[in-house]
């Protein structure tokens, strides 16, 4: 179990690293998505109980995992998806205007 938390940390930091180092816009958006996935994974882990079943109570059950983080995860997925979609369309727009995806060349705003 503990190893999964380490996975969260690794994913999170990897995502942050991608965001702050990569020059390609698409890769930056990838980084955003990675961080987001790590957070969803964390949510799942928070709700996890050993040997728990899914929170659908139509049959016999003993241990049920926490339903709240699952609901939150759904919300997070949707929010993340919307934000990513907007980011992607902006990447497309930027590529159209600037003819490049290199973040270092996209700097008309200075000062």
């Amino acid at each position: 179990m503990e190893i999964a938390y380490v996975a969260v940390i690794i994913l999170f930091c990897l995502g942050i690293y991608t965001i702050i180092t990569k020059k390609n816009l698409i890769k930056i958006v990838f980084g955003v998505t990675i961080v987001e996935s790590s957070l969803i994974l964390l949510l799942m882990l928070v709700g996890y109980k050993p040997d728990g079943t899914a929170p659908i109570l139509d049959k016999e059950y003993e241990i049920v995992v926490d339903p709240i983080p699952q609901a939150l995860a759904l919300t997070t997925v949707v929010i993340g998806g919307s934000v990513t979609a907007v980011m992607l369309v902006m990447v497309i727009k930027i590529h159209r205007r600037y003819r490049t995806l290199n973040i270092d060349e996209i700097r008309k705003l200075r000062g």
Partner: protein, 488 residues
């Protein structure tokens, strides 16, 4: 307190109906937008007048099991700001945007819904959701012109702001992990026996996340970029409400969840004040360099919010009152400035400092409004900015932050340097022939309204202070807030 939830629903419903009206009923568009804004104003006034003592509204009637909405004086202040800014914004934008209005108003209503949700909700995750709503719609507004710069700036805004959101979300999840609840009243009770180190790390994550959205230096870089080529009425709401709502969330989280004692113990108050001082000193230096008026005002916003941070972070009653008062005042003053610049850019497409040369003689009353607002924002009497700055300095001195108080005065001087430059440019005679589109009354009226508020709140500060003085009761001592929310 039925009306409280309407504060959130009404703009949402309006936005949804606007989506349909865009496709099928183009004619009712105008009536829908303005009518809804007026009804919204009415609802807001009802809610604000009932904000003391605080009221709780349980959504779905679930009590502590579900999500609650609470109106207390601090959220009442933000609703007051919405009430002051939103209708002028609607009237102004109606004329300012020459075409493609539907989407603009959809985003505007969504943004206001997000902000009012942020200030009303008492649920940590709900706060995150509404924050994202307001951020995304704010991004949508900021790229509304679809220019190169607009899209570039918005992209930077979105990336930085998403980065901040992640840290907030991480901290929110961890809070749930630690306490098993997301209700802001129950968290502090469960937080009491959590070790110091965990709490301070969590606090760091919250502070960092919100600081990006607030735009403290060096997390500020997206802000001027996002402002530079966006529709100017949006800048009014952005600097007035979007940034402030992040301040609201930060203060709410810190003061309610962690409590003033913990803030003091962990040194967050000292860091907050110091950070504020650094921020406004640098922001003033940077603002002096700008030639674009939007960027100049953006940097000035950063500096002003740093003053607010100082006020809110000195951790005394006087400080909270002063900071909250400055929140209100800054919204009004910056709103006025942006609206005047908006009229200039509408009439003759002037957004650079050199473009407005000589306009002081062409638009005497508008320029006078600009002068009033900029003197107010600098903090010269007898305008409202002076009153709140006086209170902030006094609070800082009382709490022992002498250096902060001193540097606020230095900052006042520095801010005068660049505002005065703009004013002098405004009143320098220009021989060139200018093509001027005469601004109509619906552009001028909101501007004059906000401008006159600058003077009124400066002369009669007790008017808003009646509400504001009640704020510390429910922030400084989180016990009261918790008791009310738990159903006491």
């Amino acid at each position: 307190m039925e009306a409280a939830v309407w504060v959130i629903i009404l703009p949402l419903l309006t936005a949804f109906f606007l989506g349909i009206s865009k496709l099928y009923f183009k004619r009712i568009f105008f009536y829908l937008v303005t009518g809804s804004a007026i009804i919204y104003l009415y609802i807001l006034i009802i809610v604000i007048t009932h904000s003391y003592p605080p009221k709780v509204y349980s959504i779905g009637d679930w009590g502590l099991l579900g999500i609650n909405v609470m109106v207390d004086p601090f959220s009442g202040l933000f609703l007051l700001m919405i009430a002051i800014l939103f209708l002028p914004f609607i009237i102004f934008s109606m004329k300012y945007n020459k075409f493609l209005k539907h989407d603009y108003f959809i985003f505007a209503y969504l943004m206001v819904a997000g902000i009012s949700g942020m200030v009303l909700t008492t649920d940590l995750f709900n706060l995150y959701v509404f924050m994202e709503v307001s951020t995304l719609s704010s991004c949508a507004l900021s790229l509304y012109k679809k220019t190169d710069r607009g899209i570039e700036g918005t992209f930077k805004y979105l990336i930085m702001s998403t980065l901040g959101s992640f840290f907030i979300l991480l901290a929110t999840i961890l809070t749930y992990y630690l306490t098993g609840t997301l209700n802001m009243a129950e968290i502090p009770l469960a937080f009491e026996d959590i070790p110091f180190k965990i709490k301070s790390t969590m606090m760091t994550l919250f502070v960092f996340g919100y600081a990006i959205k607030i735009g403290l230096i060096p997390l500020h870089a997206w802000l001027p970029d996002a402002y530079e080529d966006s529709p100017i009425p949006y800048n009014v709401l952005s600097s007035g409400l979007v940034l402030k709502s992040a301040v609201y969330a930060l203060i709410r989280v810190l003061y309610i969840m962690f409590g003033i004692d913990f803030l003091d113990e962990s040194g967050m108050l000292t860091i907050g004040v110091f950070w504020g001082v650094i921020t406004f000193l640098i922001a003033h230096c940077l603002a002096f360099q700008q030639s674009n008026l939007n960027r100049l005002l953006a940097y000035s916003s950063i500096a002003q919010i740093a003053y607010i941070m100082i006020g809110l972070f000195v951790g005394t009653e006087a400080g909270l009152i002063a900071g909250s008062f400055h929140i209100l005042n800054h919204a009004i003053m910056k709103g006025t400035l942006f609206l005047v610049v908006g009229i200039f850019s509408y009439s003759l497409n002037a957004v650079e400092k050199k473009d407005i040369k000589g306009l002081g003689y062409k638009f005497p009353i508008l320029s006078f409004t600009f002068v009033v607002a900029s003197l107010a924002i600098v903090g010269l009497p007898p305008f409202n900015g002076f009153m709140s700055k006086w209170l902030i300095v006094e609070a800082a001195l009382e709490a022992g932050f002498v250096y902060a108080a001193f540097f606020i005065l230095v900052g006042t001087f520095l801010s005068l340097t660049y505002y005065l430059k703009v004013i002098v440019t405004l009143y320098t005679k220009n021989e060139e022939e200018l093509l001027i589109e005469e601004p109509s009354l619906s552009l001028k009226l909101p501007t004059f309204f906000l401008g006159s508020l600058c003077i009124v709140f400066g002369m009669v500060p007790s008017l808003p202070l009646n509400l504001i003085t009640k704020i510390p009761t429910f922030l400084l001592d989180n016990g009261d807030y918790i008791r009310i929310l738990l159903g006491g």
